[in-house]
C-alpha cells in the first residue's frame, strides 16, 4: 500500500488553536465556585517547624481554609516509581514525601510547603500566606552531592546518616575493568560535573482539583505528561481513592521535558482539598516557585577513565559517579542515573570492558527527575568528552578515533542486534555514515585549515564532535520490571471506527508540543487509506482514553503508535470478514488498499465506510460475528529502540574575553523511519537548544545554605534567540526492526548529542591556541573560559 501522508511534512492540525489564542491550558480553565490555593513554603533548605499559627490568616476575608502539615499527616506521601536496591541487597531508602511538613518535622529543601491557603481569589490567598506565622529552627543544609557523602555532612533524613539513597554497580566485574585500564597504553582521565539544570517548560505547572458532591467523583485538571499515571499514583498510593471515581485530564500542556512526569504533592493536595471543601481548587505555580519546586535534571559528579591500546582501540571504561537525588525520590529518579545511564556506557563503540560505580545521595535540594534524555545525555557527555580528549592527548584525529572504534553496522533483521557489555542489546545501527555525513556537512578538512589560521588571531576556532546513542521507546515491561520499575511501560490505544467510516483514535500517549494530533493521524489515515480529516486523535483524558502510560523517553510513536497499529490490524481483519461476506468471496481473495477491499484481479470492491456501516447495521452480516468496529490494544515493546547520530559544533572563542560564540551546529540523526520530517526536525532543534543551553548558559547555583541563588529568569540563563545559530540538520534512516512502524523516537536526541559537542569544540579551540585544558565546568561562561586560558 503506498503512503500518502507518512513521510510528508504535513502542517500541524493542532496549530490553529494555539495561533489564535484558543489553546486551553489548565490555568485557562475556570470552574464555577472555584477557589484558589497558595502555598506557604520553607524559606530555608533545612529547618524544623517548631510551631505554625494560622489564626490571623483564617480570619482574613475571603480565606476559606488553611491546611497545615498536621491536617494531612495521616495521608501517604507521593510515591517513587522505581526501586533500585543497594548493591549489598539493602532496600532502597525511600523517605516519605509528605504533602505538607507537619509541626516538629523538618522542611528538606527551600520551597518545601508547610501550609496551603485556600481563598476566594488568588490574591487573597497570596496575601493570607503572609499572615501565617511559622516558627522555624534553621538547621545546617547541604546541596552538593559530593559533599553530602563526607563524614559530618548535614543529614537530610535523620534515619539515613550517610545520606545515601542507594549505591549500584553495573557492567563487567570491576577487577576485569581495572585490569583493562591498568594495562592500557594510554588512559584518559576526566573528572567533571554534569551540572544541575532546570527543565523550565514555559507553562508553569497548574492543577485544578474538583470533587463533585453529587456524583462523588473527582476531576483533576493537570499540566502533566501522563494523566493516567497520575491517576494511578494519586489514587492507589497517596489518597487511597478508587480510580473509577477519578477523572484526570491533561489538557493542552505547555511543554514538559520530563519535569511533568512526576506526580507532585500539589496535584494530590488540590484534589484532597476540593473534597474537604466541596468546591474546585486551583493552583498555578509562578516561575519562582517552579525553580524551587519543579523536578530538576542531571547533577552528577563523575570520575571517568578510558583506556586505549597503542593503536587507539578502546580497551576499557571505568566510571565512578555520585548522583544527586534531591531531598526526596521523584517518580523516575532512581532509574535515571542507573538503568537509563549505566546501560548506555557502551555508546557506539566496541569497548570490551565497562564498569560503573554509582552512589545516589540525598541533599537539601528539590528532587531530580528525568530531564530531556534522562541519564542518556549524562552517559553521552561522559563518553564523548573522553574520546575527544583522548584524541587530543594522543595526537589523533577525533573523527578517526571514533571511526576506528565504532561498532560495525547491523540491521537487526539479517544480522543480530548488538549485545553490549551493559545489558542492552541494540536493535539496529549504522554509525559510520552519520559521522561521515556530519564531517561532509562541516567541510572538515577546510575547517582544520581555517582553525590553524585562526590560532594566530584573537578568535580561536574549535570543532567538537559527538556521536551518541540513546535507548528510547521506553520500555519493555518485563525488562524494566526486573530493573526496578514499579509499573509496566507499555501503551494502550483504541481505534473506534464510527458507523460512517470516520475514525476516532484514543491514545494513552500525551502531546505537550510533540504534534501527535498530526503525526498519529497521518499514520492512521494512511494505514486505512482514508483522508486525514476523517480521523481524529483523542488524548489526555482518563474518561475518554481507557488507559495510558503517557509521553516521555521518546516513546509516543514507538510504543503508543505501535499500539494504534495493533488496533488498526484488528479493524482491517474484522473488516475483511465483513467485506468478504458482502462481496460473497473468501477473505483470502481480498486485498485492502485506498480505503477499500477489492476482490483480487477484479473490479469488485467495497469501501471502508460501507463496511463500517455494515458493522453497525448488521442486517447482511457474517453469522457469529459481533457487530461493531472498535478495537482496543495494548502494545508492550520487545526491546528499547536505539536512535543514534552525530552532532558537530563549531565555536569561536574570544581570547580577550573568553566569550564563546556558537557558529555552527550540525546534527545528523538516525531516528528510524520518519512519519513527519517537519515535526522530527523541530524536535531535534528544540533538543539542540536545550543541550547547547546546558553547555554554555544554564545551571543552578546554590549557596552554602543550599539556597538556590539563580531561581528566576533574571538569574538563570535560558537560551534566547540570539544565543543560537540556524541549525544544520540531516537524517539517515535505519528502521527499528521490532516495531510495526520501524520508528525509534526523536524527542530527546537533540539534547543528548549536543552538549558534549559544544564543550568539545571549546576545548578544541583552546588546544588550538596552546591551552591544553582538560575540562571547564559547565556552563562555559566567558569567565570560566577566560580563566582556563589565563
Amino acid at each position: 500500500m503506498s503512503n500518502k501522508f507518512i513521510g510528508q511534512s504535513v502542517k500541524r492540525l493542532e496549530d490553529k488553536r494555539f495561533l489564535t489564542g484558543k489553546g486551553r491550558y489548565t490555568d485557562d480553565i475556570n470552574l464555577p465556585g472555584m477557589l484558589h490555593a497558595h502555598f506557604v513554603r520553607s524559606p530555608y533548605a533545612h529547618a524544623r517547624v517548631q510551631s505554625i499559627d494560622t489564626t490571623e490568616a483564617l480570619a482574613m476575608e475571603g480565606v476559606v481554609a488553611v491546611f497545615t502539615g498536621d491536617d494531612v499527616k495521616e495521608l501517604n506521601g507521593v510515591p517513587c516509581g522505581w526501586q533500585v536496591n543497594f548493591r549489598n541487597g539493602e532496600t532502597m531508602r525511600e523517605p516519605k514525601h509528605p504533602m505538607l511538613i507537619a509541626t516538629g518535622d523538618t522542611a528538606k529543601h527551600v520551597g518545601d510547603p508547610v501550609a496551603v491557603i485556600i481563598a476566594e481569589t488568588k490574591s487573597i490567598a497570596t496575601d493570607a500566606a503572609e499572615a501565617v506565622m511559622v516558627e522555624w529552627e534553621e538547621l545546617p543544609a547541604i546541596a552538593s552531592p559530593a559533599d553530602a557523602l563526607k563524614p559530618g555532612a548535614p543529614k537530610v533524613h535523620d534515619q539515613y546518616p550517610d545520606n545515601k539513597a542507594f549505591d549500584w554497580t553495573f557492567g563487567n566485574p570491576v577487577e576485569e575493568v581495572d585490569a583493562a585500564i591498568e594495562s592500557a597504553a594510554h588512559v584518559t582521565t576526566l573528572e567533571f560535573v554534569n551540572q544541575r539544570v532546570v527543565p523550565n517548560a514555559m507553562e508553569p505547572r497548574a492543577y485544578i482539583g474538583h470533587y463533585d458532591t453529587v456524583s462523588d467523583k473527582y476531576t483533576l485538571y493537570t499540566s502533566t505528561q501522563n494523566p493516567h499515571l497520575i491517576r494511578l499514583l494519586m489514587c492507589a498510593f497517596v489518597l487511597g481513592i478508587p480510580e473509577h471515581k477519578v477523572r484526570v485530564v491533561g489538557p493542552d500542556v505547555g511543554g514538559g521535558f520530563g519535569s511533568k512526569i512526576y506526580h507532585y504533592t500539589e496535584e494530590a493536595l488540590v484534589t484532597w482539598a476540593s473534597k474537604q471543601l466541596g468546591q474546585p481548587v486551583k493552583w498555578t505555580s509562578d516561575r519562582s516557585e517552579a525553580f524551587l519546586m519543579d523536578a530538576h535534571g542531571r547533577d552528577h559528579v563523575t570520575k571517568a577513565e578510558m583506556g586505549f591500546d597503542a593503536d587507539g582501540n578502546i580497551t576499557g571504561l571505568r566510571i565512578k559517579t555520585i548522583a544527586n537525588m534531591g531531598a526526596y525520590l521523584s517518580t523516575f529518579a532512581p532509574a535515571v542515573p542507573t538503568y537509563l545511564h549505566g546501560t548506555l556506557l557502551q555508546g557506539v563503540y566496541t569497548t570490551p570492558k565497562i564498569n560503573i560505580d554509582m552512589t545516589c545521595v540525598f541533599t537539601h535540594t528539590v528532587a531530580v527527575d528525568a530531564y530531556r534524555g534522562a541519564g542518556r545525555p549524562e552517559a553521552t557527555y561522559l563518553l564523548e568528552r573522553l574520546i575527544d580528549l583522548a584524541a587530543l592527548e594522543m595526537g589523533k584525529d577525533p573523527a578517526q578515533l571514533r571511526f576506528q572504534n565504532f561498532i560495525p553496522p547491523f540491521d537487526g533483521v539479517t544480522q543480530p542486534g548488538y549485545q553490549t557489555q551493559v545489558a542492552l542489546q541494540y536493535d539496529s545501527g549504522n554509525y559510520h555514515p552519520v559521522l561521515e555525513k556530519g564531517l561532509e556537512m562541516l567541510g572538515y578538512d577546510d575547517f582544520r585549515q581555517a582553525q590553524k589560521e585562526a590560532a594566530q588571531s584573537n578568535k580561536l576556532l574549535g570543532v567538537g564532535i559527538s556521536t551518541y546513542i540513546e535507548a528510547c521507546g521506553i520500555a519493555p515491561s518485563a525488562v524494566v520490571g526486573a530493573l526496578g520499575a514499579r509499573a509496566g511501560l507499555y501503551e494502550s490505544a483504541q481505534v473506534r471506527v464510527q458507523p460512517t467510516g470516520k475514525v476516532s483514535v484514543f491514545t494513552g500517549s500525551h502531546s505537550h508540543g510533540q504534534g501527535h494530533e498530526t503525526t498519529f493521524v497521518q499514520v492512521v489515515a494512511d494505514k486505512l487509506g482514508i483522508p486525514m480529516e476523517d480521523v481524529e486523535l483523542v488524548h489526555g483524558d482518563s474518561d475518554t482514553v481507557a488507559f495510558g502510560m503517557g509521553t516521555y523517553g521518546s516513546r509516543s510513536l514507538a510504543v503508543g503508535g505501535s499500539a494504534i497499529m495493533k488496533s488498526i490490524d484488528k479493524v482491517l481483519e474484522k473488516g475483511a470478514k465483513i467485506a468478504a461476506h458482502k462481496l460473497e468471496c473468501a477473505e483470502g481473495d481480498l486485498e485492502y488498499g485506498n480505503g477499500k477491499w477489492t476482490v483480487k484481479g477484479t473490479d469488485k470492491s467495497i469501501g471502508f465506510g460501507d463496511v463500517a456501516l455494515t458493522a453497525y447495521v448488521p442486517h447482511v452480516y457474517p453469522a457469529g460475528l459481533e457487530p461493531g468496529l472498535d478495537f482496543s490494544s495494548f502494545y508492550d515493546p520487545a526491546n528499547f529502540t536505539y536512535p543514534f547520530g552525530c552532532h558537530i559544533a563549531v565555536v569561536e572563542v574570544d581570547k580577550e574575553t573568553g566569550k564563546v560564540t556558537l557558529k555552527r551546529m550540525i546534527a545528523v540523526d538516525d531516528v528510524g523511519n520518519i512519519i513527519n520530517p517537519m515535526i522530527v526536525e523541530g524536535q531535534i532543534h528544540g533538543g539542540l537548544a536545550q543541550g547547547i543551553g546546558q553547555a554554555l548558559l544554564e545551571g543552578t547555583i546554590y549557596d552554602e545554605n543550599a539556597q538556590l541563588t539563580n531561581g528566576s529568569y533574571m538569574d538563570y540563563c535560558m537560551p534566547r534567540a540570539d544565543d543560537l545559530p540556524m541549525f544544520e540538520t540531516a537524517n539517515q534512516t535505519t528502521p527499528c526492526p521490532h516495531n510495526p512502524l520501524g520508528v525509534k523516537g526523536a524527542g530527546e536526541a537533540g539534547a543528548i548529542g549536543s552538549t558534549p559537542a559544544v564543550v568539545n569544540a571549546v576545548i578544541d579551540a583552546l588546544w588550538s591556541g596552546g591551552h591544553q585544558v582538560k575540562d571547564i565546568l559547565m556552563p562555559l561562561t566567558p569567565e570560566r573560559v577566560w580563566r582556563a586560558m589565563n
Partner: protein, 189 residues
C-alpha cells in the same frame, strides 16, 4: 478603580483592583486566555500584547495604566476568524507553515513581538529577528523555525492590519461549552 480599555476593538468598562496587572485583567476578567504568564520577572515575553500599537509585556503594566488605551491580544490578530470563515494574520500563517510552534505556550507572545518588529522593519535580517526576540523565551523550538516563520510572514505580508472591528470570541463562551463538561453541568443545576 474603574477603567475603560478598548480590547481587540471592543470597548470594555471594568472595575479593577489597583494592583491588578494588565495580564491578569485580560486573562481573569475578560477571559482572553491566549495571553500567557510564563514568569514573574518580565523576562519571558509570553504575556506580550500591543498597547496603542506597541508591543509590551502585559505583566509589567497595571491594568490601570491601560486606561483609555487600545489593546490588541492574540485573539484579535486574525484578519477574520469565525467558525465558518478564517483568514489568519501572515504571522499566524507563517508560524504554521514553518512549524514555528510546538507546545504553543510562548507563541502568542512571539507573534505579538514579531508583529511589532515587522511594523517597524518589514524586511528584517536573521540577526535583527533574533535580536527582536531577545525578550521572548521559547523552550521547544530552539528558535530556528520561529525565525523562519517571521521571515515567511515578512515575504507574505499584505497589509496585515488586524481587524479591530471584528467582535472577538469571548472566552467565556467556549470556556463554558468546551472546557467545562460534566463537572460544570452538575455545579449549575
Amino acid at each position: 478603580m474603574q477603567i475603560q480599555v478598548t480590547v481587540n476593538g471592543k470597548t470594555r468598562k471594568s472595575e479593577v483592583e489597583d494592583r491588578t496587572l494588565l495580564v491578569h485583567y485580560l486573562r481573569d476578567q475578560l477571559h482572553l486566555t491566549g495571553t500567557h504568564v510564563g514568569c514573574d520577572t518580565s523576562s519571558c515575553g509570553a504575556c506580550t500584547v500591543h498597547v496603542d500599537g506597541v508591543a509590551v509585556k502585559s505583566c509589567t503594566l497595571l491594568a490601570a495604566q491601560a486606561d483609555g488605551c487600545a489593546v490588541t491580544t492574540i485573539e484579535g490578530m486574525a484578519i477574520q476568524d469565525s467558525p465558518t470563515t478564517s483568514q489568519l494574520h501572515p504571522l499566524q500563517e507563517g508560524f504554521k507553515e514553518c512549524h514555528g510552534l510546538q507546545c504553543g505556550f510562548c507563541t502568542p507572545g512571539m507573534i505579538m513581538t514579531a508583529a511589532d518588529l515587522l511594523k517597524h522593519n518589514p524586511n528584517p535580517s536573521e540577526a535583527e529577528i533574533r535580536e527582536a526576540l531577545e525578550g521572548n523565551i521559547c523552550r521547544c523550538t530552539g528558535y530556528h523555525n520561529i525565525v523562519k516563520a517571521i521571515q515567511w510572514a515578512a515575504t507574505h505580508s499584505t497589509k496585515p492590519e488586524p481587524n479591530q472591528q471584528e467582535e472577538p470570541v469571548v472566552a467565556d463562551e467556549h470556556l463554558f461549552t468546551n472546557d467545562v463538561t460534566t463537572g460544570e453541568v452538575v455545579e449549575t443545576h
